[in-house]
């Protein structure tokens, strides 16, 4: 098949994937690294800062890559991370 794929699809604009907002409750993190390891889009990495528990919580490398699959939320043993669609940012907070 010809390498048309070099150009973006015409309907690119219409089919823009949802934007994600990732929330890190850093001080709840115990640093198991599951969210980092199992993120299919490799959105997270271990940060250098040390949290209240004395571990390196994750930090966000590129939020735009997040596919909103929510696995980090589901696999976190410490309820220290969750994701939401950008739009619904406000009501997710507080």
């Amino acid at each position: 098949m010809p390498e048309r794929i070099k150009h973006p699809p015409l309907d690119e604009k219409k089919t823009e994937p949802l934007k994600a907002e990732i929330y890190l409750i850093t001080d709840e993190c115990k640093g198991c690294g599951y969210c980092i390891e199992f993120c299919p889009k490799k959105v997270l990495e271990e940060s250098q800062d040390i949290n209240a528990r004395g571990v390196h919580p994750p930090r966000i490398v590129d939020e735009s890559k997040c596919a909103l699959c929510g696995f980090c939320t589901a696999v976190c043993p410490d309820f220290a991370i969750y994701v939401a669609e950008k739009s619904s940012k406000e009501d997710k907070k507080a």
Partner: protein, 812 residues
Amino acid sequence: MAENKKPEAERKADDIRIGVYVCHCGLNIAGSVDCEEVAKYAQALPYVVLAKDNRYTCSDQGQDIIKNDIKEQKLNRVVVASCSPRLHEPTFRKACEEAGLNKYLFEMANIREQCSWVHLYDRKGATEQAKDLVKMAVAKASRLQPADEIEVPITRKALIIGAGVAGIQAALDLAETGYKVYLVEKEPSIGGMMARIDKTFPTMDCSICILAPKMSDAGHHPNIELLTNSEVSQVKGYIGNFRVKVLKKARYVKKDCSACGECVKVCPIIAPNEFDVGLASRHGIYSPFAQAVPSTYIIDMNLCLNKEGVIVCDKCLKACERQAIDFDMKPETVDLEVGTIIVATGADVFDPSVLPNYGYGKYPNVITSLEFERLINAGGPSGGRLLRPSDLQIPKRVAFIQCVGSRSDRSGKLYCSNVCCMNTIKDALLIKEHWPETEIYVFYVDIRAYGKGFEDLYKRARKEGVVFIRGLPAEIIEDKKTHDLWLVGENTLQQELYKITAGMVILSIGLEPRKDAEAIQRLLTLSRTQDGFFMEAHPKLRPVDAATGGIFFAGCAEAPKDIKDSVTQAGAAAARAGILMAKGKVTVEAITPIYSADKCKACGLCVKVCPYNAISLDKDSKLIHVVEAACGGCGTCAAECPFGALTQSHFTDEQLLAQVDAVTELEPEKKVVAFCCNWCSYAGADFAGVSRMQYPSSARIIRTMCSGRVSPKFVERAFARGAAVVLVAGCHLGDCHYINANYQTQKRVEKLWKKMEQNGMNRERLQLLWASAAEGEKFANKIREIQSIIDKVTPQEIEKGKKVFEKALEGG
């Protein structure tokens, strides 16, 4: 059957009357072989009562000559030196039979594929080789025996590989006739190329509108079993009795899918849709297009977030009310038994990104004719509006460039792709129909409007004001700001340079063989023409039959053709397959074992090596029993028998040894005695010829059905008579046409190597080659490599070989 062979001495010369016919095949053979000389040479060979050369032996006159000679000259053996027996042996056998001569008394010398075509510039060598080949054929012919064929039943089921319009049509025809059909398609949906085309020429029908009903018929027909997202992984057996394995790749969506599309709404993965040539997007879970059959969705596991059995994303799982999604689905292998196979694998389109001067892939507004089909299609990514990718505006001026990937050595495709001219004319008219103001230029080499209603369409296009300019642009230059395009080239009619700007350029790309054509070729032991499309058994008389019995072609797999021709050919292929299955039985070649009980020691070795379990040992009577219907005809039992109690009909030890002797009579130290199996290595050698691959003329090929037939004593005999090199060639291990017989070949060759080494012989002189029907190049290279060995072999080494194997001179 008992062998009634007489020792050489007892044969009276007048018993055997051989006629030899050397074919010029126009200039195909005569071009590099002196056919008259070969005929003269043949005349002098033992038992030969007449030898003739003529332009086309396969022509009716050519055949009539043979028939008359059989009657009037009382010929009881016939030798034709022409093309490959894989092509014309049936033709001549038929001729012999019509003249009342048992067809097993016919023998062929392949002086085209394996001689004239591969020594185009070595007339002398070619001619010498041709003589040897004829001599070998004659030697064998003098020992041929008449034989009767037994019949085996045909499985009344058909396998069709590829479910484009050709495959679908063939499937429907056979299913309607009442045969069970397995329709295998590697894509998730059937429909093939035609499903993506907007309108068909010359009638301007909506392509999918006329295809969709056929698709759903195929999907619902009680006699058709669809195997989509599947690929044929193995084919064993023979005409009427193929055993096929089909790999059904996991779809990850079960049949329960109601195609409601809820899953798509939640799938976070977005990727270009192959069906729209990347012009539109699809999701990780998707249905390729609205009319897809089956409508069951599919998950693209390369894109899905869930890998290695870990479900990270379960959005579709939750969205699916029918719970049809199953991430644990595993690929499964389906075993089929069919009597006939139709190859309808279609063609790929040429990828113009290899032509830098047209800037395809670089300039957004340079698109292919296939992309155009999607753009102009109302169901396509732009809703049928001809939007140019750079700014999504409708261009004021459009240019078509013809023969992109066709009829040009630069792109490596010398042939005409057959459909592009009319396709462009159709496309031009479509544009005019929607946006009459648009200026259209077509740059062409020749306009080929040969078909029914084609010329009218062409005329209409001209009338509508489409401008046809002879002479392809040398280059396309893009205006960086506007992304408009400049086409620069020479108008070869006016002999003047042109520089024309256009908002959009459509490359009218050609068709080329499927990337996986070689895989199919190996699976089914087919032949391909030089341009890589599958080769029919006869271009004129058997245009839809493959050389391998029970296999037929439909659609672009055989050559580029338009929808009408594909459908026509599909009908033909279905009819041909139907004829076989209607008969319900097929005669198997009389190439089964010949057993001489008196020599049998009931050791049971043959029982062990038979791939078909066709031989059983009766402990009490100390005799073996052969089930001929079950026998595949590889002859490995004959090669295995240490006591000469078994040999293979039509490939007897005597006949094969006679061929060896013939080769080694003169200057054996300059020759390689090559044993090639009919299905792979011999076909490979033919392919090398078809592809005109040039290699030294030292090879003398002896055809056996399977390399497993090559008994060590044949090899030993060759060395004992001073052959420089012996080559044993067979199918790749695992690809053996006779299940696993070639593993015996390997064992035997290794034994011989040991023996040679123990006796201080250079084992290089015995070569083992695994080459498929597709690997002509590999075969040619092997012969070149062997030539260098021949050149090194010293007279002393030759003598050594003679001594080591002198025992082999006895008997035969």
